[in-house]
């Protein structure tokens, strides 16, 4: 399938991670355009008009977020969230590794728009290559005069630093990210105040996802109308979906929003393996509820997926086929949250630990009927009672799996084994 890329331009242009190649393909022209033709406020309006929504998971309108910064003369910060650690999501990784200059160009334009004097990229600790690429590309951008003092003679100055995290999913949550960036333990902060009012070092701060910012140069180049010509009125534009699981071609796919889920799985990712059927899909990263095959025609936009009973989230689309043991899959995912719970609040810290134990017991054929009720009760005691969204995120798959596949859980209990014949990994922790 041949297509034109606006975000994953590396797919078309080899070596676009090199400054010279990026520039020879129109790189940093959007920056020049932004500096020459727009006042900061006009850029904010442009992004508002484009309808761009945050690609970090929550889908918050980006232009509106930029507009929240109080005009009180304090030093402003732009922080780019490249902590991408949500299981099933690997889109930001491709951008920083293969097309870092477009992100950097987006950061400079966004800093200009938000009047940020300092910008940071918070890079997931495990992204070693990505961090090296970013660091190299940032150095190239400084050398070319796109960063630092008085950029391209515009009078605008911004500094950009790449900061490597230590490997914690919770540091993707924006306030934990800011704590970590300040050198402290990555625990979420109490909100309000929100980062726009009191963010990095207490200053007004915009936190945006890598993909969000990578959209900005394209929007400056092609205009808001171009952007809104794709997707729906509420969810316009392009989105990268990371498809994984039991499909023929797991990969990142840059497609317009509102493309049907079935198109993404069948046409782009090549469908499930021959002879297999889709059992369920996690459409938006490991934190969102499962969708059953009857929802495969759902258009992939924020509203439609929500209506279908899940969330678009980060766009990490995990496909489970009929050979997958749902209990095992759930146990793996819940365990991820147990490992990544920051430990600040009681329900998430203790609850994810307990649920993992119970799930693994059930998976190994050691569960009881009572366990199933206990599990749902634990989930109820976590749900809506945690300090940050991670606790609730641990429940998305579990609660929907128990709703749709309770018989499979019961079979594990009844038969004291996995009815799918799944291999029992030795994953019990003790």
């Amino acid at each position: 399938m041949s297509q034109k890329y606006y975000l994953l331009r590396n797919r078309e242009i080899p070596n676009i991670d090199q400054m010279a190649v990026y520039q020879s393909h129109g790189g940093y022209e959007a920056l020049k355009k932004a500096l020459n033709e727009y006042k900061p406020e006009e850029l904010v309006d442009l992004v508002k008009k484009s309808g761009l929504r945050g690609r970090g998971g929550a889908g918050f309108p980006t232009g509106m977020k930029w507009g929240f910064l109080p005009n009180d003369g304090r030093k402003r910060y732009l922080v780019v969230n490249s902590d991408e650690a949500e299981p099933g999501t690997y889109k930001d990784r491709e951008i920083i590794e293969q097309n870092p200059h477009q992100l950097i160009e987006g950061i400079i334009i966004s800093s200009y728009a938000t009047k940020a004097r300092e910008a940071y990229i918070y890079c997931r600790g495990e992204f070693l290559f990505g961090a090296e690429q970013l660091q190299r590309a940032v150095a190239e951008a400084y050398a070319a005069g796109y960063l630092g003092e008085n950029i391209l003679g515009s009078g605008f100055s911004v500094d950009l630093k790449v900061y490597r995290g230590a490997g914690a999913y919770i540091c993707g949550e924006e306030s934990a990210l800011l704590e970590s960036l300040e050198g402290r333990r990555g625990n979420p902060r109490l909100k309000p105040p929100f980062p726009a009012v009191a963010g990095l070092y207490g200053g007004p701060t915009v936190v945006n996802n890598v993909e969000t910012i990578t959209n900005v140069p394209a929007i400056v180049t092609y205009g808001a109308d171009w952007y809104t010509s794709m997707g729906t009125a509420k969810s316009p534009g392009l989105k990268i979906f990371s498809v994984s699981g039991r499909v023929v071609r797991p990969d990142n796919y840059e497609i317009p929003l509102a493309t049907p889920l079935r198109t993404l799985i069948d046409d782009y990712a090549g469908g499930v393996l021959p002879g297999r059927r889709i059992k369920a899909v996690i459409p938006g990263g490991s934190s969102v509820p499962l969708l059953l095959p009857d929802k495969l025609d759902t258009p992939l936009d924020y509203e439609s997926v929500l209506q279908a009973g899940s969330m678009l989230g980060s766009g990490g689309c995990i496909v489970l086929d009929d050979s997958v043991c749902i209990v095992g899959a759930t146990a793996r995912l819940v365990k991820f949250y147990r490992e990544e719970s920051c430990g600040k609040c009681t329900p998430c810290r203790e609850g994810t630990y307990w649920m993992t134990d119970v799930l693994e017991r059930i998976e190994h054929g050691l569960g009881t009927e009572e366990d199933l009720d206990t599990l749902m009760d634990i989930a109820d005691n976590i749900g809506g009672k945690c300090f940050c969204p991670l606790g609730d995120a641990s429940l998305g798959v579990l609660v929907s799996a128990m709703k749709f596949f309770r018989d499979e859980f019961e079979a594990h209990v009844r038969e004291h084994a996995c009815p799918m014949g799944a291999k029992l990994y030795d994953t019990v922790n003790h």
């Binding site: 719970s341 600040k344 609040c345 005691n381």
Partner: protein, 772 residues
Amino acid sequence: MIRLTIDGQEVTVPEGTMIVDAAARLGIDVPVYCYHQALGPLGACRMCLVQVEKMPKLVTGCTTAVTEGMVVHTQGEAVEKGRKGVLEFLLINHPLDCPVCDKGGECYLQDYTFEYGPGRGRFQEPKIQKVKNGPINDLVLIDQERCVLCQRCVRFMGEYVGEPHLLLEGRGVETVVTTVEHQPATSQFTGNVIDLCPVGALLSAPYYHKGRPWNIERHSTICPHCPVGCSSLATTRESHIIRMEGRPVPDRDWGWLCDRGRFGYDFGYHPERITDSWVQQKTTSAAQATRDVAEWMQRTLTQYGSGSIGFVLGGHFTAEEAHLLRRFAHDVAHTDHIAMVRDVKGYLPLSLNGTFEDVAQADAVIFVGVDPYEAVPVVHLKLRDRLHHFPQLQVMGVGPRRLTRETMPGQDYLIDAEDEAIFFAKALASRLPNDSRVQALIASIQDYSLPVSDADLEVFGQKLLDAQHLTLLWDGENSDMATVLSVLADVRENPTAVLPTFGPVNWRGYEQAGIDPQYAAVEDLLTKVRNGDIHMLVLWGADLLREFPDRKLAQQALEKADYVVSAQVVPPLDMPYIDALLPVATWGEVEGTYVNMEGRLSIGAAGVQPPGQARPTRSYVVNWARLFRQEWQDDAWDVFDNAEGDVLIRADAAVASEITLTRPATKPADGVWTVIQGAWVVENGLPSEILEPRETEFVGRISPDDAARLQIGAEGGYVQAQTSEGSVLIAVRPDPAIMEHTLWIPRGSRHDWAQHLEGVLTLMRPEEVPSV
């Protein structure tokens, strides 16, 4: 003000109040772990879930500020299930330690589980194992398994004290509270985390396995270790004080203690505690000693008539005991020579004496000669509290060393102690040159020059006048400061308050009992002893050689007196001169009133029996009266007569009648060492075995540069001091607060060498000292 409804009751609270605090106003208890008013909201434990109408989910009452018309339910099915869930979560990894846990019976996990928790646990898996009874330092233990990760301890040390010696390590269920790099926490406020910990995770090492709530008694009392007189609770068992805890006073005091106060309670049964009488080199019964002393008094009186006995009070006695002694002196021993031992010359009139409310309101504070962190530690925390609420707080230090510090940043004016009053006077004169009071103040010192620029003086003077609420802490060293302070308060339009940091700890109480607190009084009394006008000296808790700065006079008086009687808790430095040493009951053994540096009255409780033959002052006084064949009758004196509520009534301030300052003697030549002193609560004369691991013998301090030159490392070392009287080996360590060629020593140190530092000429390494 915001009006809202909680459980059907209406309440009006200030904007910004959290739901839990609003509920507390109505007497509705919302369970909390992580929330503490002093620390602010955190939202970690989720124990405080409540229901707010029109909100989709339960909310945490500690992080949700009230809004107008809000309707809150702290009961009901959803809330109960929420609480039950949180408690069940807290218990899944909590060890079954209650039967052996020091906190058992006074633990919030027990209490809340009993009240709100599930009756039965459903958790079947093995619990996570963590460190049990690991050290935070020598005084505080941590059982990580019992920790509910409320972070109170971590936040207290980090945010409140500003000494982040505790931290969280690990993630998720593996999270633990530990110390930085697993090294002992050295802050002097660590003990507070024991009180703050809602469960049995942080434990007092000396109290470890020493008592349970049903075999201890708790007495409401105050700390005797410094003039703050922190409100506290003494835990006693079998006539031993075995623990001190902070005692919060609603709307006034968080109940913090410093480690000196919290752990230094064992002086009452320290091995050095005097439990026998000792008369003329021989141990004897207290009854015999009492008779002997009575006989000496009678003999002295017979021989020399009235006024021939002098009494000097010190120690930690109650105001009532001071009154008894004064009456005894006057009525029975026929003398009005009674004074209290003073280690500095300054005196503060009650009219200028502020309270801690003046710290809580201050926009500017000045430390005159005193570093509150060392002299009155909990005042440092009160200042931190103020700084937290009012970050613009101006902090200034005036004295011969740096008095501000990293955790209390501000501006230091380095001024010799004898110039402090002149510095203030000149600063005032720079802004108010035409004010007659100020003119009088500087009349005698106009041409006396200070090592400060005129610009600095003007800036300081302006600050003195501009402060909206000026609070000064004063060490009493420079006695002229009293005059300056009274003029300052008079010329300022806004409130001016002074908090004296000098001792004896209950000096205001003694003063109320009619004992002259002026330095001149005790100096005059000792001069009379030396001159042979007074023949018998009764030292009630006073240790002249340790406390009285004119060591020569003290020694001459002690030598000259026919009889020296000394009632003490531990052996004094005066020992060689003492004819009768009487074991006396002290704080914790006698009930009575203490007046702290605010002029606030508190009752010290009698929780334990005095050990051995130690007996209360009253026993001595009544017995002596009987031996004098006099019937002792108590009078109607009551220290509370002069109080409104629990604070002494301030008379209207009158400007000192004599507004002149003393001109300091000419400065010693350059190169000669300056010896300065300061109160340090650690070195206050009361021994403690519990605190031994915290003690250093290197109590002297010199500048880091001098230390480097003398090859003294951070932990300290010995140097030889050449003085005008000879040479003495002293123990010092570097302190960046100390200036070059300056030696700081703690006031009233029990180290003998600290008493021999007249005219220090040089310090040198011991091996450099030329052998004689």
